[in-house]
């Protein structure tokens, strides 16, 4: 997917001599707006968090893709990027943070530890073997840690997922 396709407005713009009008679906407009204004929670538990901070900063700058500011409270966040090992002791905290986020909320599992426990899969007493045991995950991104490009790709994938959600369209049975 090309980055420049991302900002394309979902609908047709009809020009008229004294202005113009737009024809679109409400679902598409809402999802377009929502997906380009995702606020992640500032949450990092290990070395993946260092890579995530790098993605925030000037060189990669995820604000270009509509992720904007990181929030320090789950009550203002739309998205939690679980970046790093989750231990048994951290698991209840992660669950509580997820429960405190307002709907609709999304989860990205960043790195090998959050997918399966990664290097801590065998012979460990303290590491949760995959955060999908605790909270539902929208996008898994492998790597140890993933590169910033990979994280950006996972977030753009999440935006694609959001764009296909429906609020007003009746479900056809």
């Amino acid at each position: 997917m090309d980055v420049k396709d991302k900002m394309e407005f979902p609908g047709q713009v009809h020009e008229t001599p004294d202005g113009g009008f737009i024809l679109s679906k409400l679902d598409d407009i809402i999802n377009w707006a929502r997906s380009n204004s995702l606020w992640p929670l500032a949450f990092g538990t290990s070395c993946c968090a260092i890579e995530m901070m790098q993605t925030v900063n000037a060189k990669y700058d995820w604000s270009r893709f509509g992720f904007e500011v990181m929030r320090a409270t789950p009550r203002q966040a739309d998205l939690i990027i679980v970046s790093g090992t989750i231990t048994m002791k951290m698991a209840p905290v992660l669950k509580r943070l997820y429960d405190q986020m307002p709907d609709p909320k999304y989860v990205i599992a960043m790195g090998a530890c959050t997918i399966s426990g990664g290097p801590f899969f065998y012979n460990t007493y303290s590491v949760v073997k995959g955060i999908d045991h605790i909270i539902p995950v929208d996008v898994f991104i492998p790597g140890c840690p993933p590169r910033p490009e990979a994280l950006l790709h996972s977030m753009i994938t999440l935006q694609e997922k959001i764009k296909h959600e429906t609020y007003f369209k009746k479900e056809t049975k």
Binding site: M88, K89, F121, Y122, N123, T124, Y125, S126, K129
Partner: protein, 151 residues
């Protein structure tokens, strides 16, 4: 003091102590019952004056547990390693060093948490990292639980 001088001092202090000089520092292995009087001497004697306990840990050798104490003197700039052998692995216990070096408090909490060594006369012996209701001591060789996948 040099390693040789420290070795002489330890032999005079406790004839039953054995030595191991393979590491960077002089390793002295003593029985766990002798720990407190030996440590008190090492801390207080003018020419030894080990005022800094910079590492406290434990090793599980399956048939016994070995407490390891790294001591340093900031005035004399010499270092020694005291190892105390605990033969009872079912109910291991040893004297706490909190009365000599207060820094031992949290280190001993950690050893209690992960190895289950009970420290006598410790001011607040509790689990430091794991939850209070955790069953077992994870760094013991015979530890197992239902989450653990053996390789």
């Amino acid at each position: 003091m040099t390693t040789e001088e420290l070795k002489q001092v330890m032999t005079d202090l406790l004839p039953s102590s054995t030595f191991d000089e393979t590491g960077e520092f002089l390793n002295v292995i003593i029985p766990s019952e002798e720990l407190l009087p030996v440590m008190k001497t090492l801390r207080n004697r003018e020419d030894l004056f080990f005022d800094y306990l910079f590492c406290l840990t434990c090793v599980d050798w399956k048939d016994h547990l070995m407490m390891v104490y790294f001591l340093n003197s900031r005035t004399h700039n010499h270092t020694i390693v005291i190892k105390a052998k605990i033969t009872d692995t079912i109910n291991p216990q040893i004297e706490s060093l909190f009365s000599i070096w207060p820094t031992a408090e949290l280190n001993e909490d950690e050893v209690f948490d992960l190895f289950g060594v009970k420290f006598l006369n410790h001011p607040n012996l509790r689990r430091l990292f794991l939850e209070e209701d955790w069953v077992g001591y994870p760094l013991r060789k015979n530890y197992e639980d239902e989450h653990m996948i053996e390789l």
